[in-house]
Symmetry: C2
Subunit: 325 residues, 2 copies
């Protein structure tokens, strides 16, 4: 399974990790039919997306929108070259994710303990105990079958309840995640509080603490319009994986008219315009929006580039690249 | 007059140049009453904005929305510490701007000659002749009364008609503007084609060609959502002046739902969150939107931060800065 992690037929510079089928779908009320969820994942993979977080292993009574994630994982695992990621809230969810065949498992740890208690009803110590249990379960698997295991530091740029979280506390939790068996520590701007300076600072101190290889990805929100500027800061600081959501599905509950996650289409456009290879074909990616429009007709889709269209200079450059290849 | 240029009571790191009263108003059909135009400018200056492009010296039959710019300039010049900028299409407009007392005069030169012929009905040679005439008129003024004179390279990141414009052509035109008497060469992403790599590249080659001091400001659009990421790239490349428009007034005709100019509120939030001083008080700036809502009730206003609100961490940091000051 793990052999699939970050693989792919052609070299890319930046891994765009699509989280819409998990983060988008869990943020809306309508339930997307199983066949449409699978079709969405297949279409994005066909557009060149290399990693998709396809669901979350939570009880259906809590998130009915994500019921049947095991079936979605199995479908996604049949797509060659796709890294199939799943979110898990605890060790039980991780066991289900492993059984389903996920290549990558992410467990969130809110660096704000108030937020952790309020939203997950678990203290830092309790979450870390779950992480250790998952770490042990993964190590018990034969080598080559172990999923990549990420601990994601949520509310990393501040909490709506506690405000700023001290650097020392974030670093202590990152070190604890690695000690408990994580392969990687993710950074998540759950509250949309990040700015480019804060992004660079946090990446630098985290990499100093747990090593460069263990800090590769970031999950940013566009709540305050800084999403892509924060991506740029993260790239400058050396990160290579960026989460985003097709059409910004789900929006942001705190900011009407704003996408929650950054929009995959806009992110890929920025990266490709900068000459960074994502492996993703933009017109094919735009076409995937039709699946969302058809099956979630009442949900607004976000994104600038699908409306504005590709610049003439971009299309011409893409043609030249194709000819050269 | 020129003494006012970039002056101000307290030091700032980045000059946010508000262009809404010119670029915003000229892009919409309704005509804002003269009293409201003045009130808008006064309120933004009171919020700490140091430079405002208050209008354009074009015949009222072409842009009735900007009729009476001389009266607006005179009003704005009565505000202590405010740099009053005006756009001019030609030497006749520049004479009017000088007579009205503008501190800064900007003439656009489209680096795409097709665009220049189509939109301004003038070749590069004809525009440069106007620039030379303006340059001579300014030099004829007594020292200390000369307005700052900027030539703005529009369609600098590509043209919807011609596509990419060769670097050599842009540099030749920048040098010609300086030779004809400009103090500064501005960069304008008229078509919303810029990306962070292109922004850094163009700034670097322009500064190499005409000198660092002559390349200080940039006018970016948010047509494709990269506005603030492009700002970040421009700051990285050393620029210190960024144009923006309150509420993104006027929108973008090519991209429904997108602001044309970058939104002043979001720009100031990003800069201040990064610890860069703009001199602008954000809550006071948000309040200026009410003038627009009252007098242009049918025009949508853009911006993420006015909806989402300031982060708790930002407000706390601002309090600490106030206490320390």
């Amino acid at each position: 399974m793990a052999d699939n992690f970050k693989s792919g037929s052609r070299p890319i510079d930046i891994l765009v990790s699509e989280v819409g089928p998990r983060d988008g779908l869990q943020s809306i009320t309508p339930i997307m039919p199983m066949a449409a969820r699978k079709a969405w994942i297949s279409a994005e993979a066909a557009a060149g997306v290399r990693e998709i977080e396809v669901g979350s292993f939570v009880p259906a009574r809590i998130l009915p929108q994500l019921e049947g994630t095991a079936e979605v994982v199995a479908h996604a695992c049949s797509i060659p070259g796709l890294t199939v990621a799943a979110l898990v809230p605890n060790a039980r969810g991780a066991r289900d994710a492993i059984a389903a065949g996920a290549h990558k498992i992410t467990i969130p740890l809110s660096v704000s303990e108030t937020h952790s208690m309020r939203n997950l009803r678990r203290s830092h110590q309790q979450v870390l105990a779950e992480v250790a249990e998952i770490g042990a379960a993964i190590r018990a698997l034969p080598e080559g079958q172990r999923p990549h295991f990420e601990g994601s530091l949520s509310t990393a740029f501040g909490c709506t309840l506690e405000g700023a979280i001290p650097d020392a506390q974030i670093l202590r939790l990152a070190e604890a995640l690695m000690a408990a068996g994580c392969d990687e520590v993710g950074i998540a701007d759950t509250t949309g509080y990040a700015d480019p300076v804060a992004v660079k600072h946090l990446i630098r101190i985290l990499r100093d603490a747990v090593g460069e290889q263990a800090v590769q990805g970031i999950h940013l929100h566009n709540t305050r319009g800084l999403g892509l500027a924060n991506v740029l800061a993260a790239l400058d600081a050396g990160l290579t994986t960026v989460d985003s959501s097709l059409g910004g599905l789900g929006g942001c509950p705190f900011a009407p008219g704003a996408s929650g996650n950054i929009v995959t289409e806009d992110l890929v456009f920025m990266l490709e315009a900068m000459g960074l290879r994502t492996g993703i074909d933009l017109p094919k990616l735009f076409a995937v929006r039709e699946i969302l429009m058809q099956h979630l007709p009442d949900e607004p889709l976000y994104g600038f580039i699908p409306d504005a269209g590709l610049p003439l200079v971009f299309t011409a450059a893409a043609e030249r690249r194709k000819e050269a290849a």
